[in-house]
Amino acid sequence: MAAIAGQKSRLTWAVNISVVIMVVAWLIPTVGLLVSSFRTTDQISQSGWWDAAFPVEKAFRDRIPGDGETQVDGKYVLTGDLLTNGQNAADLKSGTVIKAFGTSGIKPDKYKAGEVADLGDGGTLVVNKDGSYTATSATSFEGSGPRVYFVADMPPAFTLSNYKEVLFSDGMGQAFINTLTVTIPATIIPILVAAFAAYALAWMEFPGRGLLIAAVVGLLVVPLQLALVPLLRLHQEVGIGQSFLGIWLAHTGFGLPLAIYLLRNYMVGLPRDIIEGAKVDGATDFQIFMKIVLPLSFPALASFAIFQFLWVWNDLLVAKVFLPANDGSKVMTVKIADDLLGSRGGDWGILAAAAFVSIAVPLLVFFSMQRYLVRGLLAGSVKGG
């Protein structure tokens, strides 16, 4: 018995460890992107995002400011702080620790912080960890301090500058609004159309019903690619052209098979007694639909709405074809794929921030409404096939 129990717990360990490995593997790419989006391009090129929480070592060249020298014990003395008074002050944040310094570029880390460097002719230089320095000389500095090289540990730093730049100067802000403008009507409009049709297919008897259901199932898998050329032409002929109206209509049409299919599967499962009872009481189909079936189908409606929302929000193909190609109407996926990847291909911080702006809303929707999404997936794929 003991042996079996031992095996059991070993197996549990193995299961736990494999799931941890899998979750980490699935999560790492996204985490990398998130971390990178808060780092400057400078930092990204100096160290991997996995080192972002650790200080980065960087070498600097500086010249000690020559003004404000004082005389102490017959020597000329310059004091100050390299972190705030030096030429690199803009790059150095509080918390930077100077590890070593030197007086020539050949050995910038010749002296440890706090040691006394010999400047020749009786001059000395001390640079401390906190950046404060003291330079002495037998003769006046005459307004020009000695050159100094130093190696500093830059504390980990995160910035929102990528997001600012992406949203306000790269046009992602406008693209975000465009995506929202495309997504919301394209999510709402198909729902009612589909719900009425689903009700007819689920609860009304008429010849050709089976055929229609089969047609819906068939249309579920029609590749969108087929629709692009003929529909764009049709839109151009009736005067819609490439416009927001065009893309709303297109997404409505493309989303309908799934909507009808999901809703019908759900409505068929509603209790027969309620609907027949209402019919006996003299309710019309329209009343039954509006007052009984629609409210009861809320979970299915929510599932579909989430699907459609994610699908339209994340879509690139339909947006590329049915929206005008000018800058003012680009949605985020098009903006990233066509503009940013080309013009800012090497600008990793900007790319990461742009990607995160575009996936933030779907992630939010996903995590807050996961229950409905899972339910919809199960209803759509397992029951019907």
């Binding site: 999560l27 991997g48 409009i189 629709a227 032409r233």
Partner: protein, 325 residues
């Protein structure tokens, strides 16, 4: 008019129009065309009830007809014409495709995608579903593996571009290579294998989908079958592969075919990573190359995709009809 305002108006018109249409058409049917009074009230009620389903279905049928059914025919028809649609060239576009090396490459690559992506995504999904099933933190783990489903293909491509980056301080793969003092490589430019690096992106996205559905199916397995097997001394592996997997086989097939169909449609990943260069072209991205430039050829490619999807479509319809009976 600003697009936002236009959007709001469209929502109001769309939803309001829908309700108004259904309400008014039912009213007209019951009060004007077939009123339940006059000479034959009974016959009128029956007739009204025969027409009503079609009132409910009409908007959906119109939209489906225009946006999905018509394009199948329209695309095929357009593919028989030349670049600008002025001249009928029969199967000329298809002949051109057959003679194009890039097209053949795209077909071959697409074949690889169809072979590997559904298989691996289903496999990982099944593993994740089974392993997380009894875990205390199983739901959290599932949530995290499922998460990529919410990310756009473009976003996912960008995420993985970071992983694949040539620079060892950006790309994880090259960071590992750097650690072992190997020279950095660009995974997306290694001939043949770069296809697999792109497939990883879609597998990463679709595993969550497979996991959710298969985990639902695993939960639906009758307890008795599992208990009987345990009593007969089956170990965990036998239990899984000989008892559970056969019982959820139909669901596995559904997941497999759903992902297969998806693979044939996704152009975003190739478009946003390599743009079809370095021998990574697949059919959907190949089609986009000709979209707007040579509609004849673009529709011909689309129709080729349709023909590949057709068997799955027919199989789906047969299954659905079986269930209806």
């Amino acid at each position: 008019m600003s697009p936002i305002l236009q959007g709001l108006i469209t929502i109001v018109l769309g939803v309001g129009g829908c309700v108004a249409y259904f309400y008014a058409s039912n009213l007209v049917l019951d009060k004007v065309i077939f009123p339940p009074k006059g000479a034959n009230p009974g016959r009128n009620i029956n007739r009204a009830n025969m027409v009503r389903p079609w009132l409910f279905l009409l908007p959906a049928i119109l939209a489906l007809g225009i946006y999905l059914a018509y394009p199948v025919v329209g695309s095929f028809w357009r593919s028989l014409f030349n670049r600008d649609g002025s001249q009928f060239i029969g199967l000329g576009n298809y002949e051109k495709l057959a003679g194009d090396g890039t097209f053949r490459q795209a077909v071959f690559n697409n074949f690889l995608w169809v072979l590997f992506v559904p298989a691996l995504a289903t496999f990982f999904g099944l593993m994740a579903a089974q392993l997380t099933d009894r875990l205390k933190w199983g739901n959290l783990a599932k949530s995290l593996i499922f998460m990529p489903m919410a990310i756009s293909f473009v976003g996912a491509s960008l995420i993985w571009k970071f992983v694949y980056a040539n620079n060892p301080t950006i790309g994880l793969i090259n960071a590992v290579r750097d650690y072992f003092h190997l020279i950095p490589v660009d995974p997306l430019q290694i001939p043949f294998w770069n296809n697999f690096f792109l497939m990883v992106i879609l597998i990463w996205i679709q595993t969550g989908f497979a996991m959710v559905i298969l985990s639902g199916a695993l939960r639906g397995i009758p307890e008795e079958t599992v208990e009987a097997a345990v009593l007969d001394g089956a170990n965990s592996f036998q239990l899984f592969f000989k008892i559970k997997v056969p019982q959820i086989m139909p669901t596995i097939v559904v997941v497999w075919t759903t992902i297969t169909i998806l693979v044939l449609k996704v152009f975003d990943i190739v478009y946003a990573t390599t743009g079809g260069n370095f021998g990574t072209q697949i059919l959907p991205s190949y089609m986009m190359q000709y979209m707007f430039r040579d509609d004849g050829r673009a529709t011909a490619v689309a129709f080729v995709i349709m023909i590949i999807v057709l068997p799955v479509m027919i199989w789906n319809i047969i299954q659905a009809r079986k269930e209806l009976r």
